[in-house]
């Protein structure tokens, strides 16, 4: 049954890794702007220059 020690230790270590990743992300400023990225991801990667005649609203 002592496998429980191992399993829980591993699970806590995994959780700690996520906490570390979170703190690192905050430090890099990834949480400073919570709006722009959500819009940015919707843009097409590359718009075709000749496409503009058809793109009317």
């Amino acid at each position: 049954m002592s496998v429980i020690y191992l399993l829980i230790t591993i699970s806590i270590i995994v959780a700690l890794l996520f906490l570390y990743a979170f703190i690192k992300a905050v430090k890099q400023g990834q949480f400073d702007d919570d709006y722009t990225p959500s819009v940015r991801m919707l843009f097409d990667d590359e718009t075709k220059p000749n496409d503009n005649k058809t793109n009317k609203d």
Binding site: M1, F22, K27, G29, P49, N55
Partner: protein, 789 residues
């Protein structure tokens, strides 16, 4: 496609000025040019994200010449290397996804730009460029040519890299980590099953939970201990005291429990409590990053000025201006320092500094003061003092204005907690002393259980969540408040003081249009010459509006009070005045008109656009019922009568007020025990705004400038001021109701605690349950009140 609105900027197109290009209509050449730039570069996707997202480019020739000066540029840059420069530019026009898209595709318009990134909330674009290919000036001009003029002011010049305070997010992360893991590890204990392996590993689980609780208890909750300690030292009982007390007792009791094997302790509740309360803090921490509530003259001042040295114009930083310099001030530029006017004549608009609406005419040799806006053509001036010694700067550093708001407001939560803490301690002591006669161990358990279960988590959460939600709702409706306490202050207001110029009137004042038969230049000269003799405010305004022309001698000039003026010029008999005066039917529409007749033939009328804000009459009628209204104006008494007709009877009108007098007036009202809200706009109101209980600044463009204040209201929403005040009152009602609700939970919890039956599981259920009900209750209530008219 909508043919009535400009394809680029969405403004309504005047039929005469419509420009059609590629089957799209534009309101002006500027908008068409922007479209051309985009379509040439294959960037017309810009128009697909949002309808008519653009702005008309302004004429900024010469305005940014100072960016050629390397010293200035260096102060502005974030990062500098031979091939890469990074600059963050504040661009007020950023407002939609199209803006983000075009600004992040700048590299396709300009090869020197390698990439750009937009921060929408801060309205900033961070641009990476190669200085050997493109200069900062070119980038600024490019931005302007596509309608995104950056705003560069003296504020940028001094700004150090601001350290963003992210500690709350770190704490929240740690608290959630602890909370989640403790909850998982606590589950076996909740069911109290007598099982071999559970008994065997109980110690391991408990000590692991203890270890996980430590970061939450020590680091994540640290803010509460600090705040509780501070408030005890200040002799005030705030809500953080029972919270900190509850947390400490919870931790000590739980530790004792697991050390002596009494039970599993309350670490799960502890970690949950910390997490939820931090969440509440985060929710309340709604800030409008792109707005600054502490702005001073610096963000109003230009960063550089044009100096004339030996006939050459060079841009120098405004701080480098010294006595004796010769400066060139263009139209609508700000005068940065006190000096002497060298050019012939000009008019200077001091409305922002003094509240005086009319521009003042200055002649060569007159002294001109910093802070005025130059309204005439290009002028030259001789500097008399440095920037820091100018009248405006000194006014600003004047003690009265520098007086920071030190008054500590007692918030609603503080008021409740003043009673809450003693009552809580009383219950704990009483139940302890009763139980001590029955059973000593239970007595200690009861004592700690009371402090644990009564830990006012829900109570502490209700105000932040309500206020946070309300701040968001108000922000969506364009009233941006500095922080949460402003709402409580707003609800208490009983007197509202309005500034006149720029607040209840709009700044765009000289909107005069002519309707009627065509009048030629000669006739216009007649009108102007006749107007010259009259001192009536309308005459003065019309006189200034008409183009300069040769003034002719007037014969038989006569002014009929309240009606108009008449006279003969060059054989023409001219009458200017009310409709009846020129022999027309009286006006039916409520407009200010000045009618013209020449030789008894009716010509037409000059229509004065109502310069008062929309819905002013209704707003005052609405506010007049519940509030004492006052008008403070830096202007003269010229408009007393018009104002009196708009305002409810008995409204006090005070004119010719200097900034210091305004401040003193507010102070005097406060000494009479009134809660004053000041609504103002300019630098001249800054002192009054700071002194008042709630200072609201009205701004035509919230991004540009407003004096230090508690809230910024978009000018278009001015008529909704009454609604905002009512909403703030309802907010307080919501908070009070939620207090009652959370106190009920406390009563239930306490009934478990005093009878000695509090199990860790009960605590673990009551705590999140109360939190969730309170949070959903206040959110629903504030949204309901927001929808109500």
């Amino acid at each position: 496609m909508n043919t009535h609105n400009c394809f680029h900027c969405g403004l309504i197109i005047e039929k005469k000025e419509e420009i059609v290009f590629e089957q799209k209509s534009f309101c002006c050449n500027g908008c068409k040019t922007v479209y051309e730039i985009f379509s040439l570069n294959g960037l017309t996707d810009y128009y697909n994200f949002e309808k008519a997202p653009g702005a008309t480019p302004q004429d900024i020739k010469g305005k940014y010449d100072f960016l050629e000066n390397e010293a200035i540029v260096n102060r502005l840059l974030d990062f500098k290397e031979e091939h890469t420069h990074i600059i963050s530019l504040y661009i007020p026009h950023i407002h939609c996804s199209s803006c983000i898209w075009i600004l992040e595709n700048l590299h396709r318009l300009c090869p020197g730009i390698s990439s750009s990134q937009v921060n929408f909330h801060e309205k900033k674009a961070r641009i990476l460029f190669n200085p050997q290919v493109v200069s900062l000036t070119q980038i600024v001009y490019l931005l302007n040519s596509i309608g995104y003029e950056p705003y560069i002011s003296l504020d940028n010049y001094d700004s150090q890299k601001k350290n963003v305070d992210r500690s709350l997010i770190y704490k929240l992360g740690v608290a959630f980590f602890c909370f989640g893991n403790i909850m998982l590890l606590s589950f076996p204990e909740y069911f109290e099953v007598e099982e071999y392996w559970l008994d065997n590993y109980r110690g391991f689980f408990r000590w692991l939970i203890f270890a996980l609780a430590l970061p939450s208890f020590i680091y994540a909750a640290s803010g509460y201990y600090v705040s509780a300690f501070k408030s005890i030292r200040a002799g005030m009982l705030n809500i953080d005291i029972p919270i900190a007390l509850g947390l400490v007792v919870m931790f000590v009791r739980s530790t004792v429990d697991i050390v002596f094997g009494y039970g599993s302790g309350f670490f799960d509740s502890l970690a949950g409590l910390v997490f939820f309360m931090l969440l509440g803090r985060l929710f309340q921490q709604k800030t409008y990053n792109f707005l600054s509530f502490e702005r001073d003259f610096k963000s109003y001042f230009p960063i550089a000025v044009t100096k004339i040295v030996g006939g050459q114009e060079i841009a120098i930083p405004v701080y480098d201006v010294v006595m004796g310099d010769r400066l060139l001030i263009r139209n609508s530029e700000l005068i940065p320092v006190d000096g002497i006017l060298m050019s012939d004549t000009t008019s200077i608009d001091y409305s922002f500094v003094t509240g005086e609406a009319e521009p003042i005419t200055k002649k060569s040799g007159d002294k001109i003061y910093a802070g005025g806006r130059q309204m005439g053509p290009v002028v030259e001036m001789q500097v008399l003092s440095s920037v820091s010694q100018s009248y405006l700067t000194q006014l600003w550093s004047n003690e009265v204005f520098a007086k920071k708001d030190n008054r500590t407001y007692k918030t609603l939560t503080d008021t409740i907690s003043r009673y809450f803490t003693p009552v809580l301690l009383l219950i704990a002591v009483v139940s302890f002393s009763i139980w001590i006669f029955i059973d000593t161990t239970t007595a200690f358990n009861v004592f700690t259980a009371v402090l644990i279960v009564a830990c006012p988590c829900a109570l502490a959460l209700s105000a932040p969540f309500t206020v946070g939600n309300v701040l968001r709702i108000m922000g969506n409706r364009k009233l941006y408040l500095k922080n949460a306490t402003v709402i409580e202050q707003m609800a208490k207001v009983d007197t509202i003081v309005f500034d006149k110029t720029g607040t209840i009137t709009t700044n765009k004042k000289s909107e005069i249009t002519y309707q009627g038969e065509y009048i030629d230049n000669k006739e216009r000269a007649f009108i102007k010459s006749l107007l010259r003799g009259s001192n009536h405010p309308l005459s003065r305004r019309l006189y200034e509006f008409l183009p300069a022309s040769q003034l002719l001698p007037v014969d038989d000039f006569k002014e009929v009070t309240g009606k108009g003026i008449q006279g003969t010029i060059d054989g023409f008999y001219i009458r200017i005045g009310s409709a009846a005066f020129v022999g027309e039917e009286p006006d039916t529409v409520l407009q200010t008109n000045v009618h013209i007749s020449i030789n008894r033939n009716y010509q037409g009328k000059y229509v004065f656009d109502n310069q008062y804000r929309d819905g002013l009459g209704e707003l005052f009628a609405q506010l007049g019922k519940g509030y004492e209204l006052k008008i403070l104006s830096g202007d003269n008494e010229g408009e007393r009568e018009i104002l009196q007709s708009l305002l409810p009877k008995g409204t006090e009108l005070i004119f010719n007020q200097k900034p210091e007098q305004k401040l003193a007036y507010i102070e005097q009202l406060q000494q009479q025990g009134k809660n004053v809200m000041m609504v103002g706009d300019g630098l001249n109101d800054a002192g009054a705004l700071a002194q008042s209980n709630v200072g609201i600044s009205i701004s035509e463009n919230v991004n540009v400038f407003s004096p230090a204040c508690d809230g910024i209201l978009d000018a278009s929403q001015f008529k909704k001021l009454g609604w905002f005040l009512k909403f703030s009152k309802n907010t307080i009602t919501t908070i009070k109701l939620s207090f009652t609700l959370s106190l009920l939970y406390n009563v239930v919890g306490l009934s478990f605690a005093v009878t000695g039956k509090l199990q860790p599981l009960t605590a673990a259920i009551i705590m999140p349950l109360s939190t969730i009900t309170i949070v959903s209750f206040v959110t629903l209530m504030s949204n309901y009140f927001a929808r109500r008219r």
